[in-house]
Amino acid sequence: MEITVQDKKLKELQNSASLINERNKCNMLLDIYGTLLTDRQRVTLELYYGEDFSLGEISAQTKITRQGVMNCIHKAEKKLIEFETKLGLLRKYEELISSIDKLEGTIIQAGIGNREKLSKIDQALMEVKNKI
């Protein structure tokens, strides 16, 4: 009995983690492709994902019906996913960041003791990261 309860809890935790990740992903996609959406779609998604508003609250503010808000969000999400499958900018961004992180790790390991050079390299890497 106890095991099943624990399993349930674990599943719940994993589920909630993936839902939160999903949300982060949507926010990233919105950052990248937001300007390609219609104004209404962008504003609605910004309220939904950026400000964590409920459908009812968005509907009260934008004067669209609750159902309309839901449709708008679904359509906009579909659009974002379509852009990502076609262009893959988020995937590329994440790959670049992770390889820079790896590079950073190797440099730090290789250059222990040489603080001055390390800090210069670190600065350069930060600059690259900010430009991506």
Partner: protein, 80 residues
């Protein structure tokens, strides 16, 4: 008056960072909130969630409603 605990997105483009805030649900979207009670940083590995437990429990006992996302974060943290 409905008081909500929600995430508010801060941070730069492609670098999301969220504050966990207590806000009136009727506040328009102008950034007003009652109190900041923590933050959530998904860019770090592992993800950083920092909340003031006492404030959360006190606000919830006063009837503040956390949004689903906030509820999940708090549950993962074991605050509620």
């Amino acid at each position: 008056m409905a008081v909500k605990i929600r995430l508010r997105r801060m941070g730069a483009k492609k670098a999301p960072f969220y504050r966990i805030v207590v806000a009136d649900s009727r506040f328009p979207r102008d950034g007003r909130f009652i109190e900041e009670i923590g933050y959530y940083d998904p860019t770090k590995n592992p993800v950083v969630v920092n909340v003031e437990d006492e404030k959360v429990t006190s606000w919830i006992s006063k009837g503040a409603q956390p949004t689903d996302t906030v509820k999940r974060l708090l549950k993962n943290k074991g605050v509620i």
